[in-house]
């Protein structure tokens, strides 16, 4: 392994950034060393992307200092950061699919001759760069004709052309399959040997442990710590990412656990058998009884949301069977799910939840009205009653049904969204991160509500990144990891620690050939992962031919 050189190439000290009402980063320190792969870890809202944007000049910093290769820097835009040697490849490849590979690599830096573009030099330079990445594709081919993985590598080629000292890869693997990931890692390792400092951000723990040397954990905008990957057990990492929160609702926890749920077959409302979708969630089973609260635990990207979306009819399952109330059913649209009284409340409140420019009243009645059809409007008086009753029951502020939802706070928007789903009197309510980003008071109210609903016979599928919350509310907890269900347990004697252990290392309960993830996991379970990436946990690629086929798909 590389010995960490004494001087970091990037040093950020005491960085603070505030947005209206939120302290996104609060006195965070962060360093990167040349020839090292560094990972930034944390759940949603931890401040990862804010920190990256501070480093790349997208956001200005309110306090703190950034040092690059010994010099104090202050970027006023991404272009400046790039000129200084900090290159970024974003999750969504933001290149131009309708231009050629060479044009994409050289865009904005085209070699010029007599004032016009020197196409020959451009091709030559692009070919060199691609060769440096062992990427055998025609620089003249259209970027859009290549697979996402190749596009990603082209984006990297573009990034390293600017003599990058620092290369930031934001979720580069989220849309790649195992072979493509292996190819990307090969490129990362070769860049590492050239002394580039690489920031690798990923939700996949196994990949982090395979490729990274060092990691920094953030939580709620604060620095938790910087660790060498070799010296940090996965379970400790997960614990540091999720953290602990003081609870004000211990009584709920006791009550939830004391409720006896009849989980005999007769009472099962929804039963998923081998339900899965390619690229989202591997086939999994999940029976949910009437009146039962099932918690889904797992990290972001573990498949917890993807699985819930299948049950809510948001995405179509491509394998498996879903039985609702004893009848096999295929859910093709959210509309069908709603007609079966299954409500899915998205984690993405702004884009998939509330309709910002409509009033609170319209938002509350929307799903109910959609179910009735446009021709049978809910009488105005009834709409007002519904809106008023939910505004009171959920304590929505301001309590004005005519207020536009976009002017409400996040917590109140969430309550409006909940009201919309409660208005259809669901038999199964799927709540994806209903308490994210809202204040503690609203959080407690929503938790109480979930509990009361279940007592009245409604089934609830509850997803939250906060394990305390999942433990407090759920009768049963299903643990997901790397798109597999790894455990399905009664919430009886479970603790945050035991859940953390399952999330970090839980073995895959599957008859299928054990995928690479499990191999990596067992290493970590046995002891500190080597993290060097030299263990061959990836599916083998032909070592004699380390190039990606460059042909058009």
């Amino acid at each position: 392994m590389n010995q960490a050189p004494p001087t970091p190439v990037v040093e950020m000290r005491d960085i603070s950034i505030s947005f209206p009402g939120v302290k996104a980063l609060d006195g965070v320190d962060f360093r990167m060393f040349p020839g090292e792969v560094h990972s930034l870890m944390g759940e949603n809202g931890a401040g990862k992307s804010t920190l990256i944007k501070a480093l790349t000049g997208v956001y200005g910093i309110d306090a703190g200092t950034i040092t690059l290769a010994g010099d104090r820097v202050s970027f006023s835009g991404p272009a400046q950061a790039q000129a200084a040697g900090i290159s970024t490849v974003y999750q969504e490849v933001n290149l131009l699919p309708n231009l050629s590979v060479a044009e994409n690599i050289m865009l904005g830096r085209e070699p010029r001759r007599f004032g016009s573009i020197d196409w020959r030099a451009m091709r030559r330079r692009a070919t060199e760069l691609l060769a440096g990445l062992n990427l055998d594709i025609d620089p003249g081919s259209l970027l859009g004709d290549h697979s996402l993985a190749v596009q990603q590598l082209v984006a990297i080629a573009r990034a390293i052309d600017v003599q990058a000292k620092v290369l930031i890869l934001d979720e580069p693997t989220s849309s790649l399959d195992a072979d493509e990931v292996a190819e990307l890692f090969r490129v990362i390792r070769s860049l590492k040997e050239q002394g580039v400092a690489i920031l690798f951000v990923s939700h996949f723990l196994d990949q982090v442990y395979e490729i990274c040397d060092r990691l920094t954990v953030l939580r709620n905008g604060k620095l938790v710590g910087e660790y060498l990957v070799d010296e940090l057990l996965r379970i400790d990492l997960v614990q540091k990412m999720i953290g602990k929160e003081l609870t004000t609702l211990d009584d709920l926890e006791q009550r939830a656990r004391s409720v006896v749920v009849d989980d005999s077959d007769a009472a099962v409302f929804v039963n998923a058998a081998g339900l899965g979708r390619r690229g989202a969630i591997n086939p999994a089973d999940l029976p949910i009884a009437a009146g039962e609260v099932v918690g889904l635990a797992g990290l972001l990207g573990s498949g917890r949301t993807e699985f819930a979306r299948l049950l809510g009819g948001i995405d179509r399952a491509d394998t498996g069977e879903l039985t609702i109330g004893g009848t096999p059913t295929k859910l093709r649209t959210p509309r069908q799910a709603i007609s079966h009284r299954i409500a899915f409340s998205s984690e993405n409140r702004r884009d998939e939840g509330v309709v910002g420019d409509l009033t609170v009243r319209d938002n509350i009645v929307l799903a109910l009205q959609a179910d009735r059809g446009w021709f049978r409007p809910i009488p105005k008086k009834r709409q007002d009653e519904l809106a008023q009753s939910y505004i009171q029951a959920l304590n929505i502020r301001p309590g004005n049904p005519d207020a536009l939802v976009r002017n409400l706070s996040g917590g109140n928007q969430q309550k409006v969204l909940l009201a919309r789903w409660l208005a259809i009197a669901p038999r199964l309510l799927i709540l994806d991160e209903p308490t994210r980003g809202i204040d503690i008071g609203a959080k407690a109210e929503i938790q109480k509500l979930v509990f009361n609903l279940a007592e009245n016979g409604m089934s609830v599928l509850f997803i939250s990144a906060e394990l305390e919350e999942v433990l407090r509310l759920s009768h049963r907890i299903v643990v997901l990891r790397d798109r597999h269900v790894v455990a399905d347990l009664e919430n009886d004697g479970l603790t945050v620690d035991s859940l953390l252990a399952l999330i970090a290392d839980g073995s895959v309960e599957s008859d299928e050939p054990v995928p690479d993830v499990a191999a990596g996991a067992s290493v970590a379970a046995a002891g500190p992962s080597t993290g060097s990436g030299h263990d061959r946990s990836q599916p083998p690629t032909d070592p004699t031919n380390p190039t990606i086929e460059g042909g058009a798909r």
Binding site: T333, G353, L358, G373, W374, P377
Partner: protein
């Protein structure tokens, strides 16, 4: 009093109405008898009536366009659809042995309207099912539609001599021009259907946040079919009025550029091209502004060749007044007004 003023200034229809009033006042200054409405031969008569009558086709199309735009769409094909419907009606009337009979005209109008429904469904199909961007999808019919109209008229200007048909364009009922009555009916029906049922809410919901609407069970696809079909229907009605007014179907010129006037009317009325909240009342004001503008050109004596430039200037002013940047500048002004009234900051 100042607080009330601040609220009026903040209203979305404030600037369009101001523009309308300013234009009317300019006309009044240039031509003192401008507001005079007299009764001749039992018909209302005067410049204001002319504005209403000549603005009717634009208003009718703008009503349909408002709903399309509210879903984040746009319909460029309305002018072509208007030409087709006029061509269809005229060719049926010409081909009939009794061009002057009521039955012939009724058949012609019905067939023309039915064909417009087919054209609207075509647009809806391209947008909702195939998923083509509305501007491209309707561009197809915009281009092809004139050609279809040409085929129907066989390249001729079809002149019809049919009193009942002529009546649609230039007739009066109870002293009021028929075109104005038709426009009022279309406007009223559209307002009633969208605001008395849940249709309007769904249209806005889909326009504001398509994914959230889908997850709430709103059938966006069916909705798009409805709005594009309705828009084409409106275009056909306008086409019939335009054709009946001149008693001639001209495939090349009927409803030429009317899509631009209609879109303009919608935008002046405060409905955002980004979709979402719409205001039919705003569209009404917008259509009146545009027609008054055209009238003003003649009253004030601006040479007709400068009409387009003059129109563009007015549109620029309206757009500037409605832009977020200007709104920010004015919000300071509103705040001062509100503070003076001791009522705190006025909601913008």
């Amino acid at each position: 009093m100042s607080a009330l003023l601040a609220r009026i200034v903040a209203h979305r229809l404030f600037w369009p109405v101001v523009m309308l009033v300013v234009l009317l006042v300019i006309n009044l200054v240039a031509f003192p008898g401008f507001f005079t409405v007299s009764v001749r031969d039992g018909h209302l008569f005067g410049s204001l009536i002319d504005i209403l009558r000549n603005g009717a086709p634009t208003l009718i199309i703008a009503v349909g366009m408002t709903l399309v735009i509210a879903t984040r769409g746009i319909d460029l094909s309305v002018g072509a659809v208007a030409a087709i419907s006029g061509a269809v009606a005229c060719s049926i009337i010409l081909g009939s042995p009794e061009p002057g009979s009521l039955a012939t005209v009724a058949t012609a109008v019905t067939v023309a309207l039915l064909i417009s429904l087919v054209l609207g469904v075509w647009n809806g199909f391209l947008v909702a099912v195939i998923g083509i961007q509305p501007i491209i999808a309707t561009l197809i019919l915009m281009t092809a539609g004139r050609g279809v109209a040409m085929l129907i008229t066989e390249g001729q200007i079809l002149t019809v001599n049919s009193p009942p048909f002529k009546f649609l364009g230039s007739g009066f009922w109870l002293g009021v021009p028929i075109a104005v009555i038709i426009a009022a009916v279309v406007f009223g029906v559209a307002a009633l259907i969208t605001r008395r049922t849940a249709l309007g809410m769904f249209i806005e919901s889909v326009g504001i946040n398509p994914e959230a609407s889908r997850q709430s069970g709103v059938r966006a696809r069916g909705l798009l079919f409805v709005v594009y079909t309705f828009c084409a229907f409106c275009a056909a009605i306008a086409g019939l009025i335009l054709t009946a007014n001149t008693a001639a179907a001209d495939a090349n010129n009927t409803g030429l550029f009317i899509e631009l006037d209609a879109i303009l009317a919608v935008v002046i009325g405060g409905t955002s091209l980004a979709g979402g909240r719409y205001s039919l009342l705003g569209t009404l004001v917008g259509a009146l502004v545009i027609q008054t503008l055209v009238t003003t050109v003649y009253t004030v004596g601006i040479p007709p060749i400068a009409t387009m430039v003059f129109k563009a200037a007015v549109v620029t002013v309206v757009c500037l007044l409605q832009s977020p940047t200007t709104a920010d500048a004015f919000s300071g002004f509103r705040r001062r007004l509100a503070v003076r009234a001791g009522k705190g900051v006025a909601a913008s």
